[in-house]
């Protein structure tokens, strides 16, 4: 049960802007960890560096003890890191089924020649692949939507499809970028259940970014708080809730003083 993901002293500059500075985090196998912070704190930048979309200015990322800095995004994905996006990025003009089948691409058992020639291997591979994709859709209650365009799904289902697609790559580490964004409280509640469910069913390690305190506090076992690109607090939900620095980052200095005073008095 060693660490799956270790980020060490990671720093990112965009020109003169320091987006992330000396960021550290350790996510252990089976963890459900949260990364929170106000807007512009650098959370998504961290995700983009882990998945290889951005190259970091300084620092190191270890996945299973192996450095993945400088690797291409698709290689990192093939190693077992999968993600969702803050603004949903589905393959909009493709069917729901195809969205999931694309994620299976790296596990396909037939070659290009097989598909041109339509060999028996192609037929078999295509059937297996489709059945597996359909199983994922069934798990996410999207089985009856398989032939619809992804863009025609309602918002909540698009979110679920994106998570299903991320899981279809067979990852060990799942990065969820604001999965509850734009959801109403009821949807948020089912989403929280869903995240717990997939962690247990697929034996995953999950790191999620979230804005809504309710979500993070409700499901994350370890929380890291960022502000202005730096880590300002770590701990369990309770420790974070009572941390004056966190309150200050979210609510401002005056509020922090007031709440801190109240806390002390209590």
């Amino acid at each position: 049960m060693g660490p799956v993901l270790q980020i060490e002293r990671c720093t990112k500059y965009f020109g003169g802007l320091r987006a992330v500075c000396n960021f550290d985090i350790v996510v252990n196998e089976g963890d459900l960890a949260g990364l929170i912070g106000p807007n512009g704190a650098g959370k998504t930048t961290v995700f983009n560096m882990v998945t290889g979309l951005y190259t970091m200015t300084e620092g190191d990322v270890l996945f299973d003890g192996q450095s993945i800095v400088g690797m291409e995004p698709h290689k990192i994905a093939q190693m077992g890191i999968s993600r969702t996006f803050q603004n949903i990025r589905l393959f909009q003009n493709l069917s729901v089924l195809d969205n999931v089948r694309i994620a299976y691409h790296t596990h396909v058992g037939y070659s290009l020649a097989d598909s041109i020639w339509r060999s028996a291997k192609y037929e078999k591979g295509e059937r297996e692949l489709t059945e597996q994709a359909q199983e994922f859709l069934a798990v996410f209650n999207l089985a009856d939507r398989q032939d619809e365009f992804a863009k025609n799904l309602p918002y909540g289902e698009q979110r679920r499809l994106e998570i299903a697609r991320a899981l279809a790559t067979n990852p060990r580490l799942l990065l969820l970028d604001e999965p509850a964004a734009g959801m109403n409280p009821k949807e948020v509640a089912t989403l929280m259940e869903l995240i717990h469910f997939i962690r247990d069913r697929f034996k995953l390690t999950i790191l999620l970014i979230e804005h809504q305190m309710r979500v993070v506090m409700g499901i994350c076992e370890h929380i890291t708080v960022m502000d202005f690109g730096e880590v300002i607090a770590r701990g369990t939900a309770e420790q974070i809730q009572n941390n004056p620095k966190v309150i200050e980052a979210y609510l401002g200095r005056g509020a922090a003083a007031g709440l801190g005073g109240a806390h002390n008095a209590a």
Partner: protein
């Protein structure tokens, strides 16, 4: 079960029967002089345009890379295969008398070899050119490929001076190419191109190609090697152009650099946009429509008014864009081109499904 039925390239016997019947009907119409020699050439030109445009549709319609280089690869395929038959076709003549007709095995053999070499050469050059250039963003890629077409045209202009091919005769135009393209070859090479494209697209590789068009960043995050699939579709698309070039060269038996002018590189682009991006059916229909209407209008329009054709086409394109923004047949495919429809999974494993939280949306 399905296993026992005849299939070739994944297409059922019905498809092949229909293909052969269409070919036979056109051939008979030609033999009985219902279709004259001129119209027969125009029909074959339709096949050529359809193949070039199918290649471009793979690159732009399915993979999302705006390329104006298709015409350059077409020129490469045409000149390369023409040069081979020009040199060797007369030396390998091997006529075979079948009694009712003569058939030249040697010439047909060299024709196929020449076309294959032209196709492969276009593919190799597409690979080498695409390697650095496909890294560019969409508009820059379009400009770079336009530059490629211009370079090829200039090289064709100077093929007898800069390049060591005096027989291509540079800007004077290459003559003396054996007229080896027959209706049979143009038709069945088109059928082959359609079958290959269909099988490529309705596979995991094809879905990866389309995912690059849909969202590159998401594709990368799903483990798809975006550069690899851009290269693959550019090479296959370029090979289609090379194949069409080879057929064309042996159809008119005359090649002139002005045929490969960059202005012409917009022709296949117009065909695929008109027919529908991402529609194989639309490309075939528009490719034939393009070739046939150019000639039919030449006949119908009063003398001196032929130039109006080049007003009619842009207006038609404008109308299509206004009335059917996805193209004439955008999103429409003939049955045999459609991906297999998989029945929805029956909810038999209810326990598993119940386990996932239901969402009240």
């Amino acid at each position: 079960m399905k296993k026992n039925r005849f299939q070739f390239l994944g297409l059922s016997w019905r498809f092949w029967v229909v293909a052969i019947v269409i070919y036979a009907v056109v051939q008979v119409l030609f033999s009985t002089n219902v279709i004259n020699d001129y119209m027969k050439t125009v029909i074959q030109l339709g096949c050529v345009m359809a193949i070039v445009s199918l290649g471009l549709n793979l690159i732009y319609g399915f993979n999302g890379q705006f390329s104006l280089g298709q015409w350059g690869f077409y020129a490469i395929g045409a000149y390369a295969s023409a040069d081979i038959t020009y040199r060797y076709a007369s030396k390998v003549s091997l006529p075979l008398d079948l009694g009712f007709a003569t058939f030249d095995i040697g010439q047909t053999g060299i024709y196929i070899v020449a076309i294959a070499i032209g196709t492969i050469l276009a593919g190799v050059i597409a690979y080498l050119f695409g390697l650095p250039v496909l890294k560019l963003g969409s508009d820059y890629f379009g400009i770079a490929t336009l530059g490629f077409t211009i370079v090829v045209k200039v090289l064709a202009d100077n093929s007898d001076t800069i390049l060591p091919f005096p027989e291509m005769k540079g800007a004077r135009g290459m003559v003396g190419i054996p007229r080896l393209t027959t209706l049979f070859w143009s038709f069945f090479l088109l059928v082959l191109a359609i079958a290959i494209l269909r099988n490529l697209l309705n596979s995991s590789t094809g879905r990866a190609i389309v995912s690059v068009r849909e969202d590159e960043i998401a594709a990368k995050s799903m483990g798809i090697d975006v550069v690899k699939y851009k290269n693959l579709s550019f090479v296959v698309g370029g090979m289609f152009a090379g194949l069409a070039g080879g057929i064309y060269a042996h159809l008119y038996a005359f090649l002139h650099p002005s045929l490969f002018n960059f202005i012409k590189s917009f022709d296949p682009m117009i065909i695929i946009v008109f027919g529908g991006l991402g529609s194989i059916t639309g490309t075939i229909v528009a490719g034939f429509g393009w070739a046939l209407s150019l000639e039919v209008l030449r006949i119908i329009l009063p003398a001196g008014a032929e130039t109006w054709r080049f007003i009619i086409y842009p207006v038609a394109l404008l109308l299509i864009m206004l009335l059917r923004p996805r193209g004439l047949l955008g999103g429409v495919e003939w049955g045999f081109l459609k991906p297999k429809v998989w029945p929805q999974r029956k909810e038999d494993q209810t326990a598993k499904v119940e386990a996932a939280p239901q969402e009240a949306v």
